[in-house]
Symmetry: C2
Subunit: 231 residues, 2 copies
DNA sequence: TATCATTAATGATATATATCATAATATATA
DNA sequence: TATATATTATGATATATATCATTAATGATA
């Protein structure tokens, strides 16, 4: 799909029903007129840590990573956002500058809506406000849960977690192409790149998965889930 | 202080100016009439994972821990909440049951306000809605940041982090009584109890801190910060 | 006060994980 | 296409951390 050819009208956006369902036609037209839809190639930066926040960002298509650059300029991935996620997490309310950087890990489409418009909708449309916060809270809550789930497990449990995450929550299939490198997996679950590779090889030898480069196929999801549960 | 003798009027509550500043007298009276102020002794449960959420909970006084019980029924502490924090984090918008358990680690006072009242204020008072989310977002954001900061460091850096956290963000002093056991510190930063004790002893030998049971005094905060920065 | 249970402390050992080294493969770039 | 660069892969080794064992200290309870 050549994303650069597609322009979406908010009214017809398949995600509208979820995030922006409680808007009047008038309010929706306002967003549609003001929104900017941008296309990013894999590897493109969407925003950088420290830059001022001016827009509410909504991932319409693709996949992006949210990450921080540590003191030793190692990168640390906080989470992977999928279509329908709000990319800026809660920072848009709690900060004036971006707390994380965001980069496309697949070709992606991001909708930018001026923050002032969103804030004004929250002020003037109470039903929208409640729905909006419900949505944004779920995403933030799941980021916290993910961090805890990862931290309380060791290598094998963490790798199992990641494999299941992509399978269940992102691609909805036991067969997919891993969108990030082994190094990025390491940055996401706080382990060394070598050990990510090693554990993946172990899983292959154990017939839990099949690997060919980026292509992953989960062969025994029940056993993989048990590896995750055991930590 | 015998907390059980004190009852606070919302209008005079010292925290009101921050969280509930944009309410009319009428709205404030509604909260004041409906709120329930409960007193908890150290060790008392305030809410348990899985229980239905019916109130918005606000820590007026004391200190509490938010934690999850893992499969192996080890407890894992997500964060420590201090006066002025919203205890339920974002779950009140994203869930119908509590995602974490909350227990007092010092004698504490919690205000319970019926969720329906808060949600109604969000719907009808736009300025309040914005302020409220700003506040709640900051707390959730800082929980995420803390988790990342801890996970990207190893033992010495993590212990330094905890010592500095209590000093800077909770007690505002380099000398304080640690409100949690070594075991709970371990549950908060994902390391073994023995190693928590060991690293604390190391820090004592290095003249970074002085310890007498629960009493901690940071002797060289600059060096302790460097230990944290180095990871 | 005596007794029990919990917490703190420390050493020895086992295990988990990171780092270093090297090679093979894949991917980008000129 | 050739060359450089990054990624994947695996083994050997060093380091970090957990676990086990034991004792001391502290706090709770009768």
């Amino acid at each position: 799909m050549d994303l650069s050819l597609k322009v979406t009208n908010c009214k017809e956006c398949i995600y509208r029903s979820w995030a922006f369902k409680n808007l009047t036609d008038e309010e929706l037209r306002l967003i549609n007129d003001e929104k900017i839809e941008k296309y990013f190639r894999k590897g493109d930066n969407i925003c950088l840590e420290g830059e001022p926040i001016s827009s509410f960002m909504y991932l319409q298509n693709g996949l992006v990573k949210l990450y921080k650059t540590e003191l030793n300029d190692r990168e640390h991935i906080i989470s992977i956002a999928k279509p329908n996620d709000f990319i800026g997490l809660l920072s848009i309310f709690s900060n004036v500058t971006h707390v994380y950087s965001v980069t496309a890990i697949e070709d992606s489409v991001v909708c930018f809506v001026d923050l002032a418009i969103i804030k004004n909708l929250i002020k003037t449309n109470g039903i929208f406000a409640i729905d909006f916060f419900e949505k944004i809270s779920k995403i933030a809550d799941s980021v916290i849960k993910t961090r805890v789930d990862i931290n309380t497990r060791q290598l094998r449990g963490r790798i199992a977690y990641i494999l299941l995450l992509f399978s269940k929550h992102i691609y909805n299939s036991t067969k997919y192409s891993l969108p990030i490198s082994r190094k990025e997996v390491a940055e996401l679950i706080d382990m060394s790149t070598e050990n990510v590779i090693r554990v993946l090889s172990e899983f292959r030898k154990d017939k839990l998965i099949q690997i060919e480069g980026k292509n992953i196929e989960i062969l025994d999801i029940k056993r993989l889930e048990r590896v995750y549960d055991l930590g």
